[in-house]
Every structure is written in C-alpha cells, then in structure tokens.
C-alpha cells in the first residue's frame, strides 16, 4: 500500500469518526451559548441512537428512525430544561443524572423488547442510511491524486455525513445572522439584560435546548443506523465528552467546532491505523497516547497555554428574576 492510499483511507475514517462529534458539539454550542451547561450530550446521543434503532427495526425506515431519534433526544433536552431552567437545579447534576438514566434505560428497554442483552436486532440495508455514490465517482477513480480523494473520501458517505457539514454553516447563520441567534448568544452572556428588554429568558433557553436536542438526535441516529446496523449498549462510548472537549477547543464558535471535531476524529482514525505498527526509531507508539490526546489538548487550552478559551459568561448559572 503506498502512502497516498494510506492517507486516503485514514482521511475516509476521519470523516466517519468526526460526524457524530460535529453534530454533538454543535448541539453543545447552542446550549452553552444560551448559558446552559450540557454534560448530558453523551446521554442524549445514546438515547437518540436507541430510539432510532428501535424505530428503524419496527418500521423498516431509516427516516422514521431519524425522526424518533430527534423526538426522544428533544424530550430529554426538555427534561434538562425543566430541571435546570424551570426549577433552577444544578445544570451539571442534571446532566450527570440524564447520562445515568439513559445508560440504564436503553439497556433495560432493549432487553425487554428484543431480549438480546440490550442490543437491537441487526438492520437490513433499507432500514439504514447507506453510502451514496456521488455522480462520476467511478469515472474519476482513475485520475491521479484527485480521483481517489473524490471517490473514497468525498463520495461514498451517507446522507447524514453531508448534512453534518451543512449543519455547520446553518448553525453559524442561525447564531450570527438571525434575531433568535443574537438573543440566544446574549442570554448566555447577560440574561439580565435580555430580561430587561422584555424577552423571556426561560423560553429562549428552552428553545436553545430544543436545537441541541435536534442535533443530538442526528448524531445518535448516525451512530446507530448509519455507521452501525443497530444499537449496542453504551455505543456512544464517551463521544459526548469528546464533543464537549471539541467545543471548548473551538472556543464556542461554529466553524472551529467543525475543525476541532475533524482534528479529534483524525486522532482517533490515526490511532486505529497505528495499532500494532511501529514507527522507525521510536518503536510501537502506544494507542493510549492518541486516546488521551484530545483531553490533554483541551486541558492545556483550558489552562490558557495555547490561547484562552472563554466560556459564555452566564454559563452554569440559573437565571433568577429579581425578587
């Protein structure tokens, strides 16, 4: 295998591994920009994956699966809102609770409905989002350099992959070019001012959590019925936390979110590739280094050694109207 083929195959898996991160980190972007910390990203992703796999199993339709994933993820977003906005509970505690609740609930329901230890049955091709071959991909394959890149990296992904890359400019447009986005960002910095302007802080934050729920619905659906062919217990496996790290790494901005997700996806793809291979002069590089790298980078960033990551000012604080 020559070096270019290796690069193409690593880039291909970089894309595949980045997609759930991009959706989830954008979800976190909406929520945290509105001043609500969302540790529950991991759980919402898992809930959506389970719902999508169940619905796809029952109806045989991938789109119905996506719908179910979104609905369930939004419901848990609203639960987070009920606890942390309406009842002014601790946002972190609420997020942790949702993660636990979903990790248990998905396996319990999965066992009760399918009796396969929490898995859902394997899905056929028609109940999944399958790779789309873009026009001309086969004809291009022979062209040097550009051909393999187009045929194997750009083409041959499923529709959710393209939607993820579309979601980035859309999120940017919503957050920076609409009135809703302006208010959403304002409520994360200074809810008091937004309240004084006669705009409901509560309703704005709920809407931000609904946006986050929709995006987590996409990422969970991608995990269960695009990347895999069914739900497996704990299949989000910490991706929600990586997305959180990516969000911080991107300093809460949409386009950097995409780039940092691609970076973390690349680290993951590269560590898979490096498994069992040795580097000349160094020897075998432990996979664990790549696994820990996103978190280490985020910590270094948070400590202010490579730029400053400034979170939205009102993040984590429930808003109380003055009494």
């Amino acid at each position: 295998m020559d070096y270019y083929d290796i690069l193409i195959s690593v880039l291909g898996s970089t894309i595949r591994l980045s997609i759930p991160l991009i959706f989830t980190a954008l979800a976190g972007l909406f929520s945290e920009r509105a001043g609500v910390f969302d540790i529950g990203l991991e759980g919402k992703m898992l809930a959506a994956a389970f719902a999508a796999a169940c619905m796809a199993t029952f109806t045989g339709s991938a789109w119905a699966g996506l719908g179910a994933g979104i609905v369930v993820s939004v419901i848990f977003g609203l639960l987070h809102g009920f606890a942390s906005i309406t009842n002014r509970g601790n946002q972190i505690v609420s997020g942790v609770a949702i993660n636990f609740l979903i990790a248990g609930l998905t396996v319990v329901l999965g066992q009760a409905w399918f009796g396969q230890g929490g898995r859902t049955p394997q899905l056929g091709a028609d109940a999944r989002f399958v790779p789309i071959i873009l026009p001309g991909a086969d004809a291009m394959r022979g062209v040097p350099i550009v051909g393999p890149l187009y045929a194997n990296v750009i083409s041959g992904n499923n529709i959710l992959t393209y939607l993820a890359f579309l979601a980035v400019p859309i999120s940017w447009w919503i957050l920076y070019r609409t009135r809703f986005g302006l208010r959403l960002r304002a409520v994360g910095e200074n809810p008091g001012a937004v309240d004084t302007a006669g705009i409901s802080v509560t309703w704005l934050r709920y809407r931000a959590l609904i946006c986050a729920g929709i995006l987590c619905g996409f990422s969970g659906t991608y995990l269960a019925i695009a990347q895999s062919a069914g739900f497996i217990a704990n299949m989000s496996a910490g991706k929600g936390y990586i997305a959180l790290a990516a969000l911080i790494f991107a300093k809460w901005k949409p386009v950097p979110v995409m780039l940092s997700c691609l970076l973390f996806g690349f680290l993951d793809a590269f560590s898979n590739f490096m498994q069992g291979k040795s580097v000349p002069g160094i020897g075998e590089v432990p996979v664990q280094i790549f696994q820990a790298l996103p978190y280490i980078l985020t910590c270094i960033l948070l400590a202010g050694f490579i730029g400053v990551a400034k979170p939205p000012k009102a993040g984590g604080v429930p808003y109380t109207k003055e009494r």
């Binding site: 910390f37 540790i39 639960l79 009920f82 606890a83 942390s84 009842n87 002014r88 509970g89 601790n90 972190i92 505690v93 609420s94 942790v96 609770a97 949702i98 993660n99 636990f100 609740l101 979903i102 990790a103 248990g104 609930l105 396996v107 319990v108 329901l109 066992q111 009760a112 409905w113 009796g115 230890g117 929490g118 217990a233 910490g238 936390y241 959180l244 790290a245 911080i248 432990p286 996979v287 664990q288 280094i289 696994q291 820990a292 978190y295 280490i296 985020t298 910590c299 948070l302 400590a303 202010g304 990551a309 979170p311 009494r323």
Partner: protein, 367 residues
C-alpha cells in the same frame, strides 16, 4: 410571592424533602418496570431479599457501601468548598495504582497490618496527585473544575490501561493486570464482625476498609465542622467573594480541598484492589466515583447522611444482581437507571417540591 427565601425547619429541609424526592425516583423506576410488563413489587421484594436476606448478602451490600462512602466523602468535601469534583472516578483509579505499588513491594516482607497504612498513604497520595492538576488549573488559571476533572477521568483510563498492559503485566500472561498480592498485601475480611450477629460472611469480600471508611467519615466531619480549614472551605463554598474579602486565600483553599477530595477518592481503591481482588486490574472502580455524586447529594454532603446513602446504594447494587437473576427480563442496568433518577430528583430537582412544602408549612406548621 417567591417562596425561596422562606426558611423551613431542618427536619423538612434535610429529612422530608430528600425522602419524598427519593420516593418519587423509586416510583418512576417502578413505573418503568411496570411498563416493560414486570411486577414492580416482585422486583422490590427480590431486591431487598438479595441485599439484606442473610449475612452473606448483607456483607456484599456493605462491601459496595464501603466504596461509595469513600467516593461520597470525596465529592462532599469538594462541594463544601464550592467545587464540583466529577473526577472521583479517575482519582480512585489512579489511587489504585498507589495502593498496588505499595502492596506489590511490601507483601512478601511484612504482614497486612504493616502494609495497610503505607497503602493508605500511597492510595491517597496518588489520588490527590490526580486531583492536584485540575485544582491548580482552577485556582491559578481559572479553568472550570467540572470540565477538567471530566477530562482527567478520560486521561487516567488509557494511562492505567497502558501501565497495566505494558509495565505491571505479569510476563507471559495475556490479562492486563498486576500479579496477585501475597497475604501481606491483602486486607482481611470482617468475618468476626458478621459472626457477632450469628451469621457468616460467606464469599462476600467485606473487609477492613469498611472500618477505615467509617473512621474517615468521622475525620471528615471533624475537618468540615470543627477546624479552621473546614470553616474556610465552607465560607469559600458559600461565597467566594466574601471569602476573599475575609482574607481566606482562594487558591490555597481550593487546592487543599481538592487534594483532600482526591485523597479520599484514592483510598476507595483499597476496598476493591486490596480487599477483594488482591490485584490491580482494569476498570476496578466500576463507576463508584460517579455513584459518589449521588451518594453525596442524597446525604446532603454530611458524613452521616453519606453513610446512609452509601448503604442504600449498596443495597441497590447487591440487590440488582438478585433481581436480574430472579427476573431475567430485568437487566442489571436497571440500577444505573434508578441511580440516574435518584440523582435527578434528589439533586437537580431538589427545589421542585419546595414551594409546595413552604405553602403547606405556612398553612399548618405555624398554627
């Protein structure tokens, strides 16, 4: 009128409201069991019998509770200083390394009661070291401790896998674990304690670290409510600005609080590593660090409450096994769900019922 500022008597605030929230969590769990076509009452009976039915099951329950007391105290100490330590899981994992290194180097030379104090120090030091970096980052660089401790959980896990599979692994073996400790590195079981009550411990790994956990509860109570440092931590927890104006050094107090918190989490490792498995393996913490969050919240961050809450979660963990054995349709993961509901109702929704109670109290309490 807002009800948030109306004072309620302690027995309502710390007794009745958490109890009712707990009952709500169980009620919802029961509804889920009913929803999947099982009888919640049968599940409840099986759970209680499996956890408290005989000496052996009680010992298992207390074994789990021991780990949860340590991690619960760890979370509570940090919370008193206004720090939400989500990293107890990782600190306990790294603490296991400290305990194991002591056990591996001393077990052939000295009996367990000589090894134990050093292992305690080792576990606490390693756990504290793992909490130190997030603490330093919070105190000096202003990075959010919740995020950094989560990150450190994820840095610790691959680090331990690497050490276990490359450094501590027994040559010629496949499993990523250290060698088995000799008797000098194992904590003895508490047979005698169970024998007092005319029962037997059976196969349960309940061991001396249960007693250490109880001692730690007392020491934490002493620290928080009877020392200057504890006073400073609580002031910082209530209002960092007021604490700084009062001349309490912010950075120092944050770092010390987190070191104590991490040390307590690290000591949790004594229980599974030296008490039960007699070796260091992967994933031995098994979520106890996160259970500590629920335990601390339920126990209202008080050592006595933490003991009660830890025993409750011990019952859930031990009883959960028995439920999944008796009723195959119910998975062991039911416990994670119940735990999530407990954290949700007792922690995040703690203010939900308060206005109702204030109204009831104003109607009847003062008459």
């Amino acid at each position: 009128m807002s009800t948030a500022s109306v004072p309620l008597p302690n027995w309502i605030n710390y007794g009745l409201i958490p109890l009712i929230n707990l009952l709500l969590a169980f009620l919802v769990s029961g509804l889920v069991i009913w929803f999947i076509g099982q009888n919640p009452f049968d599940a409840f009976v099986s759970l209680v019998q499996g956890a408290l039915g005989n000496g052996e099951s009680i010992s298992f329950t207390l074994f789990y509770a021991t780990s949860f007391i340590f991690t619960g105290l760890s979370v509570a100490v940090a919370i008193h200083a206004g720090l939400f330590n989500i990293g107890s899981e990782g600190q306990a994992y790294i603490g296991g390394l400290g305990a194991a290194l002591v056990a591996l180097s001393l077990d052939r030379y000295v009996p367990w009661y000589v090894t134990m104090p050093f292992a305690m120090i080792g576990a606490a030091l390693f756990g504290a070291a793992w909490a130190f970096i997030p603490a330093w980052m919070q105190a000096k660089r202003g990075s959010h401790i919740v995020i950094t401790t989560i990150m450190f959980n994820f840095i610790g896990a691959p680090l331990m896998v690497f050490l276990l599979s490359h450094v501590l692994i027994v040559p010629g073996k496949q499993a990523a674990e250290s060698r088995t400790f000799l008797e000098g590195g194992q904590l003895p079981k508490l047979d005698w304690l169970i024998n007092i009550f005319g029962s037997s411990i059976g196969a349960a790994p309940l061991n001396v670290s249960f007693l250490i956990a109880l001692v730690m509860c007392f020491l934490v109570w002493l620290l928080i409510w009877r020392t200057k440092l504890g006073y400073e931590m609580r002031t910082l927890g209530l209002s960092p600005t007021a604490a700084i104006y009062a001349g309490i050094p912010y950075a120092r107090t944050v770092i010390i609080a987190m070191l104590i918190s991490g040390g307590l989490a690290g000591m949790m490792a004594l229980n599974p590593v030296m008490g039960a498995q007699a070796r260091l393996g992967v994933e031995f913490v098994a979520g106890a660090g996160f259970v500590g969050i629920a335990v601390s919240l339920m126990g209202r961050n008080h050592p006595f409450g933490i003991i009660l809450a830890a025993i409750l979660f011990g019952i859930l963990y031990q009883g959960g096994d028995s439920v999944s054995f008796d009723m195959p349709e119910i998975n062991r993961d039911m416990i994670a769900m119940i735990q999530g509901l407990v954290i949700l109702f007792v922690g995040a929704l703690e203010y939900m019922l308060r206005p109702t109670f204030v109204r009831l109290y104003q109607l009847f309490g003062r008459a």
